[in-house]
């Protein structure tokens, strides 16, 4: 292959769109980057996963820094849960090195199917539910109390400081480990799992959940990236436009997200995710049994 202008710009453009869609949906770009690289650019799945995980670090640095500056991310909570996300990521990345390409495609297809369900089932949830929550009126579990996990942030939209007390450490630890596993194995950030765990089980306001998750993703993805780098799977020529593109796309996406978020948008994404899930399943069948199902880009 030649490193032509058109190749670089097609990768950059795809990554921009992936980062943009990812930010709109509240997930990272990885969930779209890996299928695009595998299905449209015909890259081996492990090279796609390795390139994606590096771009995930880039978007985490960019997005996470903004949340840290505004003190929305909870650093202590992030540090605590990172023990489990990095542990999970290490196991996931080792599995990625040993699994066949078709196995990884199949697991990716299942993750996309799950995200389709989540996106479809939560399409009518709005910020009212979050506004009605009382975030300080809970009893802390022993782990969270010992680690003094609580905090407050200034909510610009509500025009006030919102204090919260963190609880539900066991559920958070388990889901964080699962998110780390997905990150290391599939080259995604795993943000969607972490945000829902923080918000639903750990009594963390949505904005803090997003900011804290964004920060954790970088450290989690670094573990996978280190292992893939040392295993010689990171293709620098491919990583460069992907990392820059997803960062640009995610930054634009995050900026416009609050204005665009709606039930219709989530419905459209559900359809897109369902299609990608099918296409990755078709890819897995093709790799494993040479069964050719139709999908765009084949």
């Amino acid at each position: 292959m030649n490193y032509s202008l058109s190749f670089v710009f097609s990768l950059l453009g795809m990554a921009c769109v992936a980062g943009f869609f990812g930010a709109l949906l509240g997930v990272g770009g990885g969930i779209f980057v890996v299928p695009a690289l595998a299905l449209a650019f015909h890259l081996p799945i492990k090279i796609a996963v390795a390139a994606s995980i590096v771009s995930v670090i880039a978007t985490s640095n960019a997005g996470g820094s903004a949340y840290v500056e505004q003190h929305i991310s909870n650093l202590r909570l992030a540090m605590f849960l990172e023990i489990f996300t990095t542990g999970g990521a290490l196991v996931g990345a080792v599995l990625a090195l040993f699994f066949n390409d078709w196995t990884i495609s199949l697991i990716f297809s299942l993750l996309l199917a799950y995200l389709t369900y989540v996106s479809f089932s939560t399409r009518n949830l709005d910020d009212k539910r979050i506004a009605e929550n009382t975030f300080t009126n809970v009893k802390q579990d022993r782990i969270c109390a010992y680690l003094q996990l609580n905090g407050s942030y200034h909510d610009v939209a509500a025009g006030k400081d919102v204090a919260y007390v963190v609880t539900g450490a066991p559920a958070g630890m388990g889901i964080a480990a699962l998110a780390g596993l997905a990150s290391g194995l599939l080259g995604v950030g795993g943000g969607v799992l972490k945000v829902s765990a923080l918000n639903r089980y750990m009594n963390v306001p949505m904005k803090v959940a997003v900011g804290t998750s964004k920060l954790m993703i970088g450290v989690t993805a670094a573990v996978g990236a280190i292992l893939f780098f040392m295993a010689g799977l990171i293709h620098f020529m491919i990583v460069a436009p992907i990392a820059i593109g997803t960062t640009i796309g995610a930054t634009i996406g995050t900026t416009v997200m609050n204005r665009l978020r709606s039930a219709v948008l989530k419905l459209i994404f559900s359809g897109l995710l369902a299609y990608l899930s099918y296409a990755m399943f078709a890819k897995a069948l093709e790799l494993a049994f040479a069964i050719h199902l139709p999908y765009a880009g084949r």
Partner: protein, 129 residues
């Protein structure tokens, strides 16, 4: 009710350190990515998708030669390494900041995360090829 953090002023220092580090890592890697991309486009070269070809780029002799000749691949490699090292540096800076604050619990918590990262490097060196 919300408990008061034992030292909110010093905790702000941790936030400032982490923020500065993330921005520095992002800027440094982006600069190297852009230089590498421009050079690669000015001097188009063929590349392969095979694992053997990628591993070849990691060899010291290739890196040394690339540094001497200004090979775009070296700039892209440096950018990638800087990007991967940013979260690692973030963890190290956090340990230091918690240590300065005398927050022993979080020095331990953050050190465990660093330990897992070091374990990953050890696995990469000895186990996984």
């Amino acid at each position: 009710m919300r408990q008061t953090n034992h030292d909110e002023v010093t905790e702000k220092n941790v936030y400032t350190d982490v923020y500065r580090l993330l921005i520095a890592g992002m800027l440094a890697s982006t600069i190297f990515f852009v230089i590498g991309l421009i050079l690669a486009l000015l001097h188009p070269q063929s590349f392969s998708l095979s694992a053997d070809w990628i591993r070849h780029q990691y060899q010291w002799s290739v890196i040394r030669h690339g540094l001497a000749t200004g090979d775009p691949m070296i700039f892209l490699m440096i950018a990638t390494v800087l990007l991967i090292l940013t979260p690692v540096a973030r963890v190290i800076v956090s340990i230091y900041a918690f240590f300065v604050d005398g927050d022993t619990k979080y020095v331990v918590v953050t050190s465990i995360v660093l330990g897992i990262m070091i374990l990953t490097v050890i696995l990469g060196i000895f186990g996984v090829q």
